[in-house]
């Protein structure tokens, strides 16, 4: 019996090559894409899932109710962690952590490395397995460090280095450390990434900060004892907070903050480790959102769905050709069940072929996919039991529904009717129409999404940020020399070059540089009886002109001697609330008042998803600069860049030069948006291609079914144009209907998405009109090729088919 089914299925496949190849192509491509997208979504979702104790590890967040609304911060004061451990029950392990870049020196070698400064508990909490060396307590001694294999290779050229001594630059001095252990390289889906782990107490700020409760500069991770709930820990931390943050609470009360629903002003909250990758603190509260991976999953499903709709539609349409077979089989005694299994097994056959091709395709294109969408998926993920189970389950679901539905329809047909070759088609057509409308709605939504996403990216790229991004190069000051000296030396070195306009430095980059690190600092101080919060930037006196910022009042720093004053931005001026901000004196350090020298026009020093916040420039040689900025003349920019690089090499022969123009840095900050946009646009391309493949196959079948009608109409005298119109209009109606459904939906979705950006484009009608037009034109071209040919055919031929 089964042999017989397969035989029939095989011969059917061979008979209808166009249809079947369209089906198999569509299904296998959709399957491949769905597998790849599914893998990348799974990859995202699996972030930080590898820590064995992950279930009980949390990141600590402090939320404050400020007069301007809630504010959440992940950085804490150095005494917090030891005090918590000592005074609260329920803490099993706790570790502070600063992620940083540092210069490591070994013999002649100077290498910039990613480092984490952590407490002793770190390796007991997190699963970063130690390969050689001290497994039990790798950070027992203050000078102990742990290298990853990769890090050890980078500095020592070998991983057999346990016990070796080397130096790290700390506060401008070389300090010796000893390698106590080598850990396995960190897997890609880890939020914590480092090459060296060193003791927190060795960090440059520790000695000054260890007793200070108002100096917050590091993160805290805590592992709770078994059975201790995060919520109960948070609750019981309240009296602790009241005790140690009492002063802050008083200040908040004084400045007019309103308490949260529990009557609290400051809270310690715990974010589960597996949520950390998905948490954002943008609106002052902790928000965990996995919408991006789910969006990717969604796109994968939609694409599969579109391909499945094609299959369903084509199978139903093809029923007409097999009526005689169905009728005959029934007269020979076939039962519904048997017919159902026959048709279903035919579908299964097609699916198995398509899915196998799809799997092969996805593995073949894995590397292209990885580089195109910069994800770190690997083929080993494909073979993970979770993924395989999910894949099998979805294949099963698809074959049952997609193969089952047409099979069910076919098996239900009446014997006599099918023998006569008559089909009550109205019902099926409706199902077909609904499915096609659905399909095109999805395609249109994706097209609108693509248009809007790219426009938003384009807008962010071209927006005037308030500083000169084309002509300024930034580079990390990652050498051995004192950063201020280095900026001065560079300035002298380049002074003879007419194409170098100016040189400066600050302690934070703009955008995302080649070193891939970002930081920002803030400060709060008392001003006229209330707390004023501002971003805080250490600069060099030529910062304003180097970046092309505009002064709106007062003056810029003129020389290094102006270090007793500050320059603020307009938002800060507003925050101070003075008629003339130049009269303000800011008590940034206790007892020392800094006069405001000038006000600089607001510029976007953070990403465009945030509004411009208050900013204060501060000139101090006591604090290190971390980035150099050089403005070059608009001519010969490439030459100037080389000149800068050469000057760097001369002054810091051992350190890498990681310079890049600011517009590249800004582009790098949209990397996620770009990846999403790329995914959505490839998805929409695929969606429209698949939909059109379905449309094409349908038009093929419809034209076949209506051959006689076309012949009769022509004999009566209809023109080619009118026949084409009749054949095309039914389909176009569906596309238009899809447009009507898709427009408000996509409008809503994209409006929500754009809310994420403080600076955003308007959703103009043209996005929707454009997407609609694209869908209609492509659909018309697809159907047109078939219908015009049919309309032009000789009527005698088409009538002869009777």
């Amino acid at each position: 019996m089964i042999k017989n089914y397969l035989k029939i299925a095989w011969r059917n496949l061979l008979k209808d090559k166009v249809n079947i190849s369209l089906n198999i192509t569509g299904l296998s491509v959709a399957c491949a894409v769905a597998i790849l997208l599914g893998m990348s979504a799974m990859f995202q979702l699996s972030y930080d899932g590898f820590h064995e104790r992950g279930e009980s590890i949390y990141k600590m967040v402090r939320t404050e109710q400020t007069p301007k609304g809630p504010k959440a911060g992940t950085v804490h004061a150095a005494p917090l962690a030891p005090t918590l451990e000592a005074e609260m029950t329920g803490v099993k392990h706790i570790s502070r952590m600063v992620q940083d870049g540092t210069l490591a020196l070994f013999g002649e070698k100077e290498v910039n490395m990613d480092i984490v400064w952590v407490d002793q508990d770190f390796f007991s909490m997190f699963s970063f397995p130690v390969l050689h060396g001290n497994e039990k307590e790798p950070l027992a001694d203050l000078n102990d460090v742990v290298f990853t294999e990769e890090g050890a290779q980078k500095l020592f050229g070998s991983t057999d280095v346990v016990g070796k001594t080397f130096n790290l630059m700390v506060n401008g001095e070389e300090k010796p450390f000893t390698v106590s252990a080598i850990a396995k390289d960190i897997v890609p889906q880890s939020n914590l990434d480092f090459q060296i782990a060193a003791r927190f107490e060795s960090h440059r700020e520790y000695n000054e900060a260890k007793e200070q409760w108002d100096r917050q500069y590091h993160e805290v991770f805590v592992e709770l004892k078994q059975g201790v709930l995060a919520s109960s820990f948070e609750q019981s931390s309240r009296s602790f907070v009241d005790l140690y943050y009492g002063e802050g609470i008083e200040r908040l009360k004084r400045d007019g903050a309103t308490a949260d629903e529990n009557g609290r002003f400051i809270n310690l909250e715990l974010v589960p480790l597996k949520d950390v990758h998905f948490a954002s603190f943008k609106n002052g509260t902790v928000e965990v959102s996995r919408s991006r991976p789910y969006l990717i999953f969604g796109v994968a499903l939609l694409i599969l769905f579109i391909a499945c709709i094609n299959y369903i539609n084509m199978s139903i349409a093809k029923t007409a050709k097999r009526l005689k077979e169905i009728g005959m089989r029934k007269t020979l005694g076939a039962q519904k069940k048997q017919l159902f299994f026959q048709f279903w097994s035919e579908s299964l056959f097609v699916f198995i072929i398509s899915i196998s091709i799809g799997v092969v395709l996805s593995l073949v294109f894995l590397n292209d996919f990885k580089s195109m969408f910069n994800t770190q998926i690997s083929s080993s993920m494909f073979w993970s039991p979770m993924f395989l189970a999910g894949l099998l389950l979805s294949i099963l679901a698809i074959t049952v529904v997609v193969g089952g539905y047409p099979a069910l329809l076919m098996s239900r047909l009446g014997t006599i009717q099918s023998l006569k070759g008559k089909l009550e088609s109205s019902g099926n057509n409706q199902v077909r129409n609904v499915l096609m409308v659905f399909q095109f709605s999805i395609a249109i939504i994706m097209i609108v999404g693509t248009l809007v996403l790219w426009s938003q990216i384009d807008y962010m790229r071209n927006k005037d940020l308030g500083f000169d991004k084309e002509q300024v190069v930034s580079f990390p000051l990652n050498g051995k020399r004192n950063s201020h000296d280095m900026v001065d030396l560079l300035r002298d070195e380049l002074s003879g070059n007419a194409e170098i306009v100016s040189v400066s430095g600050s302690d934070s980059n703009l955008g995302l540089g080649k070193d891939g690190s970002r930081s920002s600092s803030g400060i709060g101080f008392e001003y006229k009886g209330r707390i004023v919060m501002t971003n805080f930037l250490i600069v060099d006196h030529e910062y304003v002109q180097t970046l092309g910022l505009n002064m709106v009042a007062g003056r810029n720093f003129e020389s290094a001697a102006d270090s007793l004053g500050v320059v603020i931005n307009e938002s800060m001026a507003k925050e101070l609330g003075e008629q003339d901000p130049l009269t303000s004196q800011l008590e940034i350090e206790d007892g020392i008042f800094y006069p405001v020298l000038g006000v600089v026009k607001d510029y976007n020093f953070k990403d465009l998803d945030r509004a411009i916040a208050p900013m204060t420039f501060f000139m101090s040689r006591q604090q290190d600069l971390t980035y150099g900025f050089v403005k070059v003349a608009p001519t010969n920019m490439a030459n100037s860049f080389v000149a800068l690089e050469n000057a760097w090499k001369k002054l810091e022969p051992n350190a890498d030069f990681l310079g890049s123009f600011l517009n590249e840095n800004i582009d790098r900050t949209f990397r996620q948006e770009k990846t999403t946009a790329k995914m959505i646009s490839s998805g929409s391309l695929l969606a429209i291609v698949l939909s059109c493949m379905g449309l094409f196959a349908m038009s093929l079948l419809i034209v076949q079914q209506r051959t006689k009608e076309i012949g009769v109409r022509k004999v009566i005298g209809a023109s080619v144009g009118s026949i084409t119109y009749i054949l095309t209009k039914d389909f176009l109606k569906l596309v238009l209907l899809a447009f009507i459904i898709a427009s408000p939906l996509s409008w809503y979705i994209l409006k929500e998405w754009l809310q994420n950006y403080t600076y955003r484009i308007d959703l103009s009608v043209w996005f929707f009109a454009g997407a609609g037009a694209i869908a209609v034109v492509i659909a018309m071209l697809t159907i047109g090729t078939r219908t015009i040919r049919a309309a032009r055919a000789n009527p005698v031929k088409s009538l002869r088919t009777e």
Partner: protein, 221 residues
């Protein structure tokens, strides 16, 4: 007695009115009979044949087949009944285009769950008996109309039915082919005792039968 129809009515609703396809049909068929149903187009011949073959339902009346009351049976049992005892022959042969002659003959046996070796033997027998061994690997489209109908009859017979229902079996054939098929029916009826009910337009073909039933507007006359 093979089958009995009592007061069979069948109608369709058309514009709020009942249009009768079959009206008060009473019919008894004994085993070994050869019956011809005649009548003009639209008189209900094929409908009656389909009702007898249980491919179609009726709205009123009673139908006993081998002392089973068909009107009370569920579809599943009905299909078991007709696949066991009835073979069908159609005007346009209704062979499956995708299957070879041999496979077409084998198909009814598949639905009767007969074992592979037995199927092979039965099919070989049938090919032999109808002299179409040489054509067993051809597809229907490669055969003449007469040959296709020969295969059609062979397929109807392979399940060893008690009753063969033939709906204008020679309608698409030329006179010589018709003659052959009718001779075949006669032989089957006389030598093997297979009961045959055929629908025909041709007086000449009707003569082969032992009894003629005339229909007009769904009534027996």
């Amino acid at each position: 007695m093979l089958l009995q129809l009592r007061n069979i009515f069948k109608w369709v609703q058309q514009g709020g009115q009942r249009v009768f396809l079959l009206k008060d049909i009473n019919l008894e068929v004994q085993e070994g009979e050869f019956i011809s149903i005649m009548g003009p187009s639209g008189s209900g011949k094929s409908t009656l044949l389909n009702v007898i073959g249980m491919l179609d339902t009726f709205d009123e009346g009673e139908y006993d087949f081998l002392s089973e009351s068909v009107h009370t049976l569920k579809e599943k049992y009905r299909s078991n009944l007709y696949k066991e005892y009835i073979g069908f022959v159609f005007q346009s042969y209704h062979l499956l285009d995708d299957l070879t002659v041999e496979e077409n003959l084998e198909m009814p046996l598949l639905y009767k769950n007969i074992k592979g070796s037995e199927r092979k033997a039965l099919v070989a027998d049938m090919l032999d008996r109808f002299n179409i061994v040489g054509k067993k690997d051809l597809f229907p489209a490669q055969l003449s109309g007469g040959q296709q109908q020969l295969v059609g009859v062979a397929r109807a017979l392979i399940g060893k039915p008690k009753l063969i229902l033939a709906d204008e079996p020679t309608g698409n054939l030329n006179s010589q082919q018709s003659e052959e098929i009718m001779q075949l029916f006669k032989k089957l009826n006389e030598e093997e005792g297979v009961t045959i009910i055929q629908v025909t337009h041709s007086e000449k073909n009707a003569e082969y039968g032992s009894r003629i039933i005339n229909l007009l507007d769904g009534r027996k006359i």
